[in-house]
């Protein structure tokens, strides 16, 4: 592989990595907010039932 091939391949893979990373952390953020609401609802529902 030439030096250019090495750098181009590296940037392509890093591009895929950064895209996946952004998706991961964006969904993580959404899940943290939405999940917090759900946890409270579940516990309240069970408490009311008991």
């Amino acid at each position: 592989m030439t030096q250019t091939d090495i750098m181009v391949s590296t940037y392509i893979w890093l591009g895929i990595f950064f895209f996946s990373g952004v998706v991961f952390f964006s969904i993580a953020l959404w899940v943290i907010f939405r999940g917090g609401k759900d946890v409270m609802e579940i516990l309240t529902e069970i408490k009311d039932k008991q």
């Binding site: 750098m7 893979w13 996946s20 991961f24």
Partner: protein
């Protein structure tokens, strides 16, 4: 050593908090479905959090990191495959939708509905063995991670293993799935933050040019092209596609999230949301592994596994390392509790209860499940300390999973969607699916002594890949040859009203 008093304070503070939450949630467990499937209350937000957290333990970080260290950028293909396959399973609802509609709590319960109680016992037993063997290396890998990241080297691995297990078994035994779900949420939060911060600091330690050169110097073109990589290649890629597909649909710890969902539709959505994170889940630790390769090239065996946590221990500043260790402990606790609960439920409900001639009360089943959580825990300590993996951690994890999933995907997939699937086909699928992975686990230790004709068995890629073909062949041939002797059962009466 970066690990200071502040880091200890962060770790103990977090552990105290999460165990208290787990034990507090215990009072919300009033029956068996509360213990095993969280009374089927999971909504999309918390369902996704708990599924992502379950599938993201320290062990995941470790085997993905090792894969990055050994295969460079080529390793990232695993993340792409996992995301694609889980999304497709969620989108199509393949298998998970059918199981949720049938309201089963564990995957082998399906065997009893569709085939017979003995099929359930065999399926449950194979699932239990494959699952516990799969989990057998978790503690060791986690111990290596924590010990190296904290700067203790190999010295503290055993003691960390014992302490971690003790904590997890405690709150899994007393809390069950409601505890797991509630603590999963907090664990997911701290884990996400710690991964983001760790990635930032890891990238600051090296330049992109250094990474590119390290991958090229150590791995050549294998480090950039997964299709020509000697460890990976097309067989590995097809094996990963099939394995992830089967695991997405049938691996009890993950599938139980779909079975715990408030409706089949929510179960599908949980899978789709969680799947989008699976590329990042694999690629983030892989990149850490590649950065470790840049900093510590040329390591093999357990040293290669330890390279990534060693790198993190070296580059992360005080305080940040405490958050990372708390995050990783969080990840482990969530994974362990889900896995312990899954395998203990399977051996109790699908083997012991199914074998029992008298009907067992819910209380007895709950007690037996809790005892099995403890028994599996003790096994994990000894197995982790003394067993030596015959291949990379990633391949070991997948091949042990295949012992069950290779046969199960045929017996359950065909069972749900093919009217001719019968009991003989199911037995054959379960047995033939387990043969190649089991042979690999035994024969890989004697690779040099094997005659050339069966040497392929010692190749994890090939053994794993072929196990799915054998499972499908067993199901189709067994069913078609015995249609008259063993007529297939109809599932229609078991579906929830209006669902079929």
């Amino acid at each position: 050593m970066n690990f200071t008093l502040l880091d200890w304070f962060i770790v103990f503070g977090y552990l105290g908090f999460t165990i208290s939450v787990g034990l507090y949630a215990k009072k919300y467990v009033s029956d068996l479905s509360g213990y095993i499937v969280a009374s089927r209350r999971l909504k999309i937000g918390v369902g996704s959090a708990t599924m992502i957290a379950t599938e993201l333990g320290t062990v995941t970080i470790m085997y993905m990191g090792e894969n990055g260290y050994r295969n460079g950028f080529s390793a990232l293909i695993v993340g792409i495959i996992t995301m694609f396959v889980y999304f497709m399973v969620g989108y199509s609802g393949f298998i998970i939708n059918g199981l949720r509609k049938l309201r089963v709590m564990t995957v082998p319960e399906f065997y009893e509905l569709r085939y017979s109680r003995n099929t359930r016992i065999l399926g449950g037993f194979i699932l239990f063995i494959g699952g516990v063997l799969n989990m057998g290396v978790f503690l060791k890998l986690d111990g290596i991670f924590l010990s190296h990241a904290m700067g203790f080297g190999d010295n503290a691995v055993a003691i960390i293993m014992v302490l971690m297990l003790f904590m997890v078994v405690l709150y899994t035994i007393f809390g069950g799935m409601i505890s797991v779900v509630v603590t999963d949420y907090f664990q997911f939060t701290i884990l996400s933050i710690s991964m983001l911060v760790a990635t930032f600091f890891a990238f600051r330690a090296v330049t992109i040019e250094q990474i590119a050169q390290a991958v090229h110097t150590n791995l050549g073109s294998d480090g950039f092209n997964p299709f020509t990589n000697a460890n990976l290649g097309w067989t590995f890629i097809f094996w990963m596609l099939l394995s992830n597909f089967a695991a997405a649909a049938l691996w009890q710890p993950g599938t139980s999230r779909a079975l715990s969902a408030e409706s089949p539709k929510t179960g599908k959505k949980v899978f789709m949301v969680a799947s989008l994170t699976f590329a990042g889940r694999a690629m983030i630790p892989m990149l850490w592994g590649i950065i470790a390769l840049t900093m510590y090239p040329g390591l093999t065996g357990d040293d290669a596994i330890a390279a990534m946590p060693r790198m993190l221990g070296a580059v992360l500043p005080t305080g940040v390392i405490g958050i990372l260790i708390a995050g990783m402990l969080a990840a482990s606790m969530s994974t362990y509790s889900s896995y312990l609960l899954a395998w203990a439920s399977v051996i109790t409900r699908d083997v012991i209860w199914a074998l029992s001639k008298e009907s067992l009360s819910e209380k007895t089943i709950l007690t037996i499940t809790r005892i099995w959580v403890g028994v599996i825990g003790v096994f994990l300590i000894f197995f982790g300390l003394f067993y030596k993996m015959p291949s990379s951690a990633l391949k070991y994890i997948f091949i042990t999973g295949n012992m069950y999933t290779a046969g199960a995907v045929s017996s359950i997939g065909f069972g749900l969607y093919w009217k001719k699937a019968n009991i003989v086909g199911a037995y054959l699928a379960l047995i033939t699916g387990a043969v190649a992975p089991l042979s690999f686990l035994i024969l890989a230790n004697f690779e040099n002594m094997l005659p050339r004709s069966i040497a392929w068995v010692a190749n994890a890629n090939f053994s794993g890949f072929i196990s799915f073909g054998l499972g499908a062949l067993g199901m189709v041939a067994g069913s078609l040859l015995t249609q008259k002797l063993f007529p297939p059962k109809d599932l229609t009466p078991y579906f929830e009203k209006g669902d079929k």
